[in-house]
Each structure stands twice: as C-alpha cells, then as structure tokens.
Subunit: 179 residues, 2 copies
C-alpha cells in the first residue's frame, strides 16, 4: 500500500491506473522548501513519513513549468507566479523571446523510512497565447503537438502527461522491487 | 550575545551598529521554506538554533521586493527571479503597469529556544528603468525619493534601508527586555 500525499483526489485516481499496489490518499500539509522539484518532493516525503501515523511508504509529487529562454522560470515556484503575475503575463514575457520552448516536469518522491527514490516525468512543448477552457494553471499557454493542455480532455492530457510519465517509471521500479 | 545567521559580513557590521549586545556571525545553510518572509525567517531561526552548537539566541533575516501591481511578485522568491528572469525583465513587466509602487521588506526572526519574535522593516519606492552602478540585486530598478538604491552609497542606503528599520525595532525590543 502506497500513501500518496496530496489534496487532489484526481491525482490519486491517476496513480491507481499505473500501480498494482493499492493507493491511499493522505492529506498532509508538509513543509515545501525552496529548491529544485526533487529536493522539495524528497523533503516532503521524509517529513510526512515522520509526522503522520502509519508506516506504509509515502509518495509526494511536485510539478513546475520550465521556460527555456527564461532559465527555467517559473519552475518550482509556478503556483506562486500564477497567483501573482498570472499566466497572461508569463505569456507576454515569453512572447518577447525567440525561443518559446518549455517543459512541464513532475518529480515523484518515494520514501519508506529507509529507501528514498525520485522519478521524473516531463513533456516538452511551447508557450503560446492562451487558448482553451479545460485544465488549470498553465494549461492554456502550454501547447504540445499543436494543442494547448487546456484544449485537451483530462484523459488525453493524462495520456501524455509529465505526471503519468513519472508514475510509469515509479510503477516499473516498484514492480521490479517486489519481484 | 546574538548569533546572526548569514553568509554576508556586511549585514553583521550593520547589525552591530544597532545593537548593544555583541553580534557573532554564524554561517549556517538553513532550510529555506516556501511561504511569507516571516515564516521563512522563523523556520530558519528555529532550525539553526536546533542544529548548531552554542545556546545563544539566533537572528535570521529574509528580504524581498514586493511590486504592488504584481500582487507582491517577486516577493519571497526575489533571488530566484533575479537569477532566472533577471531584473531587466522585472522592469519590463512593471513598465506596463500604471501603478509602479513597490516595497522592499526585511523580516528579522529572533529565537532563543523559548521566545520567537519577528521584526519587519520596509521602504516604499517605485520600479524604474535600471540606473546606477552600486548595490546589488534589485537596487538599480528600485527608486526611493528620486534615486535608485544603486545610485546611493552603502551608508546612504543603510540609513533608510528596510534592514536598518527592522534592526532598529529589534534593538528597541531587546533593550526593553534586558532592562
């Protein structure tokens, strides 16, 4: 049994599609540190393991959008930047750059009290003018294969998503480990 | 004796000008969490107190530039934004706003194992096109009374600075407490 630390039930459903083991949702508000996605997720997994009852392994995810021409901005602080600048302004900044390549990254951190591992999934795309009504966050300005994430259904998005790719890697690792 | 947790010797000198007690520099790389300046500094002061030898009270500072029209961006992540977007782009974004007011804030957190207190100092100004060769960080785009911080000497800047104002509050509190 894996304890997925998230307030988002949708993520738990997505994890269940990849993993053979059962997945339980743990709603714990762990400390988010400043740093790279990997460091943030690892720190959160260790803290949650130490501070919550139960001794099953925990899984923590952290996600960010990294714009190449902006040295990886907004990266780990994507949520803060969305709340302050807003995605329209991120588009306006990127619009002035010739290189509009960007990558959505998710890092999953697993911790069971002894073993700590991280798994990264990413999707490459481009920053475009906002389009589409679905999704959330940066979805309207992130285009992959000609369509923005906000123009895709949840199922379509999950099929190519950074989180899905990280979950697939984690599932492989877990399956090998349990053999 | 106060242990000021910073890699910057200049800050220690500045603190000595305000405090009657002796100030010792502690170079400890505490965990910076995501959150408000106050939370970041408090967390750092508690961690440093717990993790470093010695039992004197510790002082941790955190500083950010808050642009009013951008909901407080870049705020606690000013260093990250400087390293990725750069201050030229912050000016370009602010330039499109009618309201160019901004505030430099410093929060000092004091922790002695029992008492935790924070002290905030701030300076109001405006975001302007980069000017001046002195200072560092956002100094060239932050103007106070017509001049940017990068057009002032360190002494002039310290005389009106956010950190100085926070240090003055802290000094008052400490003096009353020691009476």
């Amino acid at each position: 049994m894996i304890r997925f630390v998230t307030g988002n039930e949708g993520k738990v459903h997505e994890a269940r599609e990849y993993l053979d083991e059962s997945v339980e949702q743990v709603d714990y508000d762990y400390t988010e540190i400043q740093g790279e996605l990997k460091d943030i997720a690892l720190y959160g997994s260790r803290e949650t393991f130490a501070e919550t009852p139960g001794d099953g392994p925990v899984l923590v995810d952290d996600t960010g959008l990294f714009v190449e021409a902006l040295s990886g901005f907004p990266g780990p602080y994507s949520a803060f930047v969305e709340d302050t600048l807003g995605i329209e302004r991120v588009w306006e900044i990127a619009q002035r750059e010739e290189n509009r390549r960007a990558t959505f990254r998710t890092v999953l951190a697993y911790y069971d009290g002894e073993t700590a591992e991280t798994f990264e999934g990413s999707v490459r795309g481009r920053i475009v003018a906002p389009r589409g009504d679905d999704g959330f966050g940066y979805d309207p300005i992130f285009a992959h294969d000609g369509r923005t994430f906000a123009e895709m259904s949840t199922a379509e998005k999950n099929a190519i998503s950074h989180r899905g790719r990280a979950l697939a890697k984690f599932a492989d690792w877990l399956a090998e480990r349990n053999e």
